[in-house]
């Protein structure tokens, strides 16, 4: 069962990209979330916000054209884009906490069935980076998590209760993994879509949390 193909990181990003509405202000975390900007459907305008103090981040700079005063929150170099604006950290987070960011896409270590998010510290390391994730968890209007369904040891990252330190409580709305699309509902995690070739029962077998499984669960289509 576990030998079945799972979705590539790019495909997870592609699926998340479909969730971004036209005209949305979006913050993308580091990792899979960063890939999302490559797959925004044609005709939609999405404005990216970076905690480094940039709004309307354009494409990444070419090699040799790096400007050390033009980076995103992941330390990547940006190209100057028309309509770009700059601001300091207090304002960058004012935008986040003040509810002005429509969607934040974050990576995660664990997501619970209540929508709790843990993504800043592996207890085994004993120290971690909070960075901007807690502010996003508290402030963004909608949180989408993009992550692998299980960790390197095959343990489910979709859990009943997070055992890792929380980033935010009851903040996640949608989880897109390499096996499924899960919606956080008052009744628990609802299985909305499965990876091609996977059955809901197979996804449940890879999931610690008990999923709410509707009668028809379509395959993830792109």
């Amino acid at each position: 069962m576990t030998t079945k193909p799972r979705l590539e990181r790019e495909v997870i990003a592609m699926r998340v990209a479909r969730e971004l509405p036209d005209g949305a202000y979006v913050n993308l975390g580091i990792g899979i979330p960063t890939l999302v900007s490559n797959y925004v459907p044609e005709g939609r305008v999405v404005i990216y916000h970076s905690e480094s103090g940039v709004l309307n981040c354009g494409p990444l700079a070419e090699e040799g054209e790096e400007d050390i005063d033009l980076i995103n929150a992941g330390g990547q170099f940006l190209k100057k884009a028309p309509g770009m604006s700059f601001f300091h950290s207090a304002d960058a987070f004012g935008m986040i906490r003040g509810g002005h960011i429509d969607v934040a896409v974050l990576g995660a270590l664990q997501v619970s069935e209540q929508g709790d998010l843990a993504n800043w510290m592996l207890p085994s390391r004993g120290i971690g980076n909070i960075g901007g994730a807690m502010d996003l968890a508290a402030g963004a209007k909608r949180i989408i998590v993009a992550m692998e369904h299980t960790d390197r040891d095959g343990k489910s990252k979709v859990v009943r209760r997070c055992t890792y330190p929380l980033t935010g409580r009851r903040c996640v709305d949608l989880v897109v993994t390499d096996l499924a699309v899960l919606k956080v509902t008052p009744a628990g995690l609802e299985l909305r879509e499965v990876a091609p070739g996977w059955t809901p029962a197979e996804v449940q077998a890879q999931t610690e949390a008990t999923l709410v499984i509707p009668r028809d669960v379509p395959e993830i289509a792109l």
Partner: protein, 250 residues
């Protein structure tokens, strides 16, 4: 009377930094917002037991925001040099556990203290320090480790955490240009923590590429009015960054 806040060198501008001082420094992480000559001068001065308030606890094994993967000079060199007792930061370690920074190694040995703060809360606590706000309630961190030991109260139906203002003895900040009255303009994404930090320290020292005459900076773009700034230092290599290996590089 001619006012000039321009000091002859980074070394002289940090000459009164004392053992045990609380220092705010650095922009976001990348060298664009980092007062690298002041950091080098602080290492040369050898002051100890410093408390550093910054986004990171030093990136001395990480090439964040640096072209060509080079390692930029940042306050990690002060940590590695044993000059730092405590760090208040949101990004204290490298992303990868296999590449621990000096700070992480010393932290494991119990030789440095850490106060971990969410990034937005850090910026707002610094802004509060400069703006005469003693404390504020934020939803950030409610229900997490960050809220432990702090007042938590429900306001407008939502849990909020009480966070208190941060102030410092010195702020070592980086801007693009100054005039000799201390007005500062920044470039691109390098405003980040520099702007709030410029308001929250007793002595604010700005490292800039260039100093111009009053009136030459566009008043609409001055983000740090000169009244906040005590000292201005011009970089010896404007437009360059300092890397660990070669000193000033492009």
């Amino acid at each position: 009377m001619t006012v000039s806040k321009v000091w002859p060198s980074a070394r002289e501008a940090v000459a009164d930094v004392f053992d045990g001082a609380v220092i705010m420094m650095d922009g976001f992480g990348g060298p664009g917002g980092m007062a690298q000559e002041l950091i080098l001068a602080l290492r040369e001065r050898g002051v100890r037991d410093l408390t550093i308030i910054s986004n990171t606890a030093g990136l001395d094994s990480v090439s964040f925001g640096t072209p060509g993967g080079s390692l930029p000079v940042n306050h990690g060199i002060l940590v590695a040099n044993g000059q730092v007792r405590k760090v208040i930061a949101s990004f204290p370690v490298s992303a990868s556990p296999s590449r621990p920074t000096s700070f992480e190694l010393l932290y494991r040995e119990g030789k440095v203290e850490l106060e971990l703060v969410p990034q937005g809360t850090l910026a707002e606590r610094i802004r509060a320090g400069g703006a005469g706000v003693a404390a504020f309630y934020t939803p950030t961190g409610a229900g997490t480790l960050v809220a432990e030991g702090k007042e938590v109260r429900v306001l407008d139906g939502r849990e909020h955490v009480l966070e208190t203002a941060l102030k410092a003895d010195f702020a070592c900040i980086r801007a693009w240009k100054a005039d000799r009255l201390g007005n500062l303009v920044y470039r691109g994404s390098s405003r980040n923590f520099n702007v709030p930090m410029a308001t929250a320290a007793r002595v604010v020292i700005a490292e800039v590429d260039e100093v111009v005459e009053p009136g030459e900076l566009d008043p609409e773009v001055i983000l740090t009015p000169g009244l906040y700034v005590k000292r201005v230092v011009v970089r010896r290599h404007p437009g360059k960054i300092y890397t660990r290996e070669q000193g000033a590089a492009s």
